[in-house]
Amino acid sequence: MTRADAMGLLLALIARLITGAQGHWKGCPPKAEQRIYFANHQSHLDWVLIWAALPRELRATTRPIAARDYWTGGRFKHWLTREVFNAVYVSRQRSDDQDPLEPLVDALRNGDSLVIFPEGTRSNKGPPQAFKSGLFHLAEQFPQVQLIPAWIDNVQRVMPKGEVVPVPILCTVTFGAPVTLAPGEDKRDFLARARAAVVALQPAESQLQTATG
């Protein structure tokens, strides 16, 4: 076992100890198919949580997206994202000649699965924001890749904004049924539908909580 593998196991163990990281597979079984998981984004822990909720065999081929300027900044950060998580780096500055989705497209051509947070930023309060169009373009280019919606629940209580130490509170990740792009479907319609598929996975009890604040 390499150092990176050991680090991965340790992180998954910590995530389980702190949050339980329970995966509920409601709409699809955890299978080694090529997939794009897309989820709501509330905290820095979201990626680790999804990753820990996946069965171990799937973790190696499921990759996160990381901002290149931040995650290659320090030696440890770079090592962690490169060796442990095998992240796909994207640059946040948009240059004219390069498609920002290009690294993602390369990864999907490679046969890897991806986890993306289509809101683009973290939304701590209330329902998820509108989805960015990247998901639509990927769905268009890779019709054979399954798009799995996921809802991450409770994680904002584990580590609220501005705190660094997480409090142990149980969280769940609910995976729903695959969403497919209908032939000729409009971008806006598809993104709204995808967002609705994510929101629909929110457990009833936590919906109540969001409503009452």
Binding site: D153, I169, P203, Q209
Partner: protein, 324 residues
């Protein structure tokens, strides 16, 4: 019987575990044989529940055995972990706010380990007052410093209550194992075993009684099954079990009866309090696998012990004038 008395403490405890695991094996085998028969959906449900309960008992027995085998340090760490998991489940279910973050960190990473260190060090005097005195002052201070005045009292009460039940209560279980009874040293495992058997027996008797008696519930909105008659029967069953087991404890038969009824009463009332808490949090079962929290139902299982252990421990310590 006399021959058994001549054995060393370790041998006696070993025998206890051989008997315990033997009984569990028999029970598992019986359930496995029963499931071979054809059955309808309703029976299927019952079997599923039985298997789940049996698994929980197995897990409990293994924890208990591991606690004994690994000595004082191991027992403390083990119950510390159970305590941590129970508190995690509790905090998930009672709704906390952002301002509680620091207080919760203090509870999980400060209070919990310290309390168990005190147990392992046998500082029983400090161990008894550490949480009720020092922590109950510290938690509101940390909360106040977080600067969120909304529902201040309610939030603090939630956290303090969680610490009281999941940490303070449960930490008395390893304390029982480590309690030094004159002329009974090294046999602390028997005391814990006694306590667990009595509370579990009382719980079982009460549930069975309430199913058959169908008396008017005392507090309908909290627990439909809790009636005074069933509760009394539960205590009586616990006391009888305790009296029958007096020979594994340092007690006389009469003392065992009294101690067992105290433990049984505390355990069954603790369950009532826990169901009130559940109702408040809006959950039917802690162990509901489909609930938002994915809680595993640990809290449900340890709750009677959390209430019975401190009462039992302090009754024993006070009555027998034990010095640490």
């Amino acid at each position: 019987m006399n021959q058994l008395k001549a054995w060393s403490a370790d041998q006696q405890v070993a025998l206890l575990f051989v008997v315990l695991f033997g009984l569990l094996l028999l029970a598992s085998a019986a359930v496995a044989l029963l499931t071979l028969r054809e059955r309808n959906a309703l029976q299927e449900d019952g079997y599923e529940r039985m298997r789940r309960e049996l698994r929980a008992v197995w897990a409990g027995a293994v924890v208990f055995w591991a606690a004994w085998v690994s000595g004082p340090a191991g027992a403390t760490v083990l119950f510390g972990v159970v305590s941590f998991l129970a508190l995690r489940e509790y905090v998930t279910l009672v709704k906390t706010r952002r301002g509680d973050h620091r207080s919760l960190l203090l509870a999980f990473f400060g209070v919990l380990p310290l309390q168990y260190v005190l147990v392992a060090n046998l500082n029983f005097d400090l161990f008894s007052v550490f949480i009720p005195v020092y922590v109950f002052l510290a938690i509101p201070v940390v909360s106040a410093l977080a600067g969120d005045p909304q529902r201040f009292l309610e939030r603090n009460a939630k956290i303090q209550w969680g610490i009281m039940v999941c940490v303070y209560g449960l930490s008395h279980a390893p304390a029982l194992v480590l309690l030094d009874f004159p002329g009974h040293s090294g046999r602390g495992a028997f005391l814990l075993f006694f306590l667990v058997v009595v509370t579990a027996g009382a719980h079982l008797a009460q549930t069975t009684a309430s199913r058959y008696l169908r008396r008017r519930p005392v507090a309908r909105h909290i627990d439909r099954n809790f009636s005074l008659r069933a509760w009394g029967l539960g205590i009586a069953a616990g006391a009888a079990l305790g009296a029958a087991l007096f020979w594994i404890t340092p007690f006389e038969a009469g003392q065992a009866l009294a101690m067992a009824s105290i433990a049984a009463a505390a355990g069954t009332l603790g369950e009532l309090v826990m169901s009130a808490l559940k109702r408040d949090a809006g959950v039917r079962y802690w162990g509901n696998t489909s609930s938002v929290t994915g809680a595993v139902g640990l809290l449900d299982r340890v709750a009677p012990l959390c209430f019975a252990a401190p009462v039992f421990f302090h009754s024993v310590r006070w009555y027998f004038q034990l010095k640490p």
